[in-house]
């Protein structure tokens, strides 16, 4: 049983040619009922499973799309991936998923591997918005869709969340509560989300004529540790902020840990809004206000765009979707005159 049966074994057993077998396994019709039955039986008997390798080689398509995410451990991405996978399966596509750990080098490797394997399309949240590695894909004529982070040098279909508006509204809310010293824990400025969320923050301050204080703008890297450190920094300032806006989920977690360790009282001494929903949001007291993103939809739309490009590639224009995040106000940013 160790040697895999091929289409030829089936043909022999059913006493037909391999062409006829091929017709049956591809449901192409034009085969007599009785013949088909004989072939089906042979397939069953042998436990034949057709080689996708050989098939893809001939057809020049693999029905596979590659997904590249920067950090599979960040719960945001599995949710996006779930959205992609569901739609993909509906349309008969399979997915292969790789995580780059935010490394441009790993990302380029993965791109090459995906090309080697002949993926029909790629959905990517890049770790390197300025990278040239996307050209590799374009040269091969492989459709690409960018999710959550733009690709700068090339015209690529993109699905984004409106980061500027999301952080603008969060900060605006804090301002309207009476806060004047609002800090932001930033993401990497060479990523769309990192950059744009800072932009929204600044926009809100400017619009309400609040000064931009550089000591309140702390750089992070979207990882938990940096949120923790940033919060310590803010705490050690002579003039502490009365509110913190954190640019992503993991840094929010880190920041909240720091708050606890420092006994810097959430919702009393310091208000807080985080970008991205986190599990803990509704568990802590006071409950956490967040900017929430539609992960599943993000994935679904990304696949939709890719699908269109894979199947009707004739000069579609570049398309860009901007989904709106939702501000969920809870008790972590209540009005509190005492400390303002």
């Amino acid at each position: 049983m160790d040697n895999k049966p091929t289409i030829e074994d089936v043909a022999k057993l059913a006493n037909v040619s391999i062409a006829t077998v091929s017709r049956v396994i591809n449901n192409q019709g034009g085969v007599r009922k009785a013949t088909e039955e004989r072939i089906l039986n042979a397939i069953n008997e042998l436990g034949y499973i057709r080689s996708a390798l050989a098939r893809s080689m001939k057809k020049k398509e693999t029905n596979t799309i590659g997904i590249i995410v920067p950090d599979i451990k960040n719960p945001f991405f599995p949710l996006v991936v779930a959205g992609i996978e569901q739609k993909a399966r509906e349309k008969g596509y399979y997915t292969i998923l790789s995580s780059t750990n935010e490394s441009p080098i790993v990302e380029e490797d993965i791109v090459k591997i995906f090309i080697e394997r002949g993926v029909d399309g790629v959905i990517i949240t890049t770790a390197n918005e300025n990278g040239d590695h996307i050209k590799l894909l374009q040269d091969q004529g492989i459709p690409i869709v960018a999710v959550d982070r733009v690709i700068k040098k090339f015209d690529i279909d993109t699905v984004l969340v409106d980061n500027v508006s999301g952080s603008y509204h969060a900060v605006q809310h804090l301002i309207l509560q009476g806060h004047k010293r609002i800090a932001i824990i930033c993401g990497p400025q060479n990523t769309t989300p990192g950059y744009e969320r800072l932009l929204g923050y600044k926009k809100a301050l400017e619009e309400y004529n609040l000064p931009i204080d550089e000591t309140l703008i702390v750089q992070g890297d979207f990882m938990e540790g940096s949120g923790y450190k940033a919060t310590q920094e803010l705490y050690s300032l002579d003039k502490r902020p009365t509110a913190i806006f954190s640019s992503n989920n993991l840094m929010t977690i880190g920041s909240l840990k720091a708050l606890m360790d420092l006994e810097w009282k959430l919702g009393e001494e310091v208000s807080f809004i985080g970008f991205d929903d986190v599990d803990i949001a509704t568990f802590i007291k006071p409950r956490l206000s967040v900017v929430s993103r539609p992960m599943n939809t993000l994935g679904e739309m990304a696949f939709q765009l890719l699908y269109e490009r894979m199947n009707f590639k004739e000069n579609l224009p570049k398309r860009e979707y901007l989904l709106s995040p939702v501000l969920k106000i809870r008790e972590s940013c209540q009005l509190n005159n005492y400390y303002l």
Copy 2:
């Protein structure tokens, strides 16, 4: 630039035969320096990337392993996958990942797809421990490793966490605190973790001569909603439990939500230990005691076992590893005489 260059294009440009090109791209040596250089230049100029499809077809191996998990949205699995991927990459293997949503039907589909694509091995946390679909893999001679859940009908290498001991120690701890009415929120009894965690619970009760009260054993499905519902049930009992042991992370979250909604005071009116670490554990007050598992190691060991079987398959015996979970005691299960 749309047509992908093949080995033949390279050969032509470098004025050699395709055999020589093949030698170069595979680093087989036996090629004159100057020739090699010419070939390398040609490769660069054309942007040639070799087709893994054609290569695999010839070599009858894809350097790919398939990973099947029941629920990619459960943070436990991305962590295991990360462990697998890291080791796999070190050894030059690539991974393709699929999530079954706990559906045996989807799982069987995925198994077939993996076979079609010629994966060299499979690491699986099955949604169907009694399934026959594993036979498909065995018939093809594809090595398999089971993670976290056993495969019943076949001899399969397995990496497990000692569920019995984990829940035994958790419940023992509660007993030693003085609790006499300890409830358990179970996982599906047709899965190893679900079954064994109940086993450990019962074992502890028996050992300390506590009666087993069926009303305190509530069935769940490892999903958040069932944890919520189970907790409501327990609350509505005439004689409520004074402690709850929850069989997995998602149900723990659900249960804690219910506790809050019911205003059933954690750590005061009811002690709590959950199986599996959760983000929120150290954020809530009182902090949550948990049974913690070594996810990354689980993944690493699974790959190690698979690797050995893929490369030295000559009659290795079936191997089973049992990793020990760690009981992390925090304040959610403190002694509290008042309510006992």
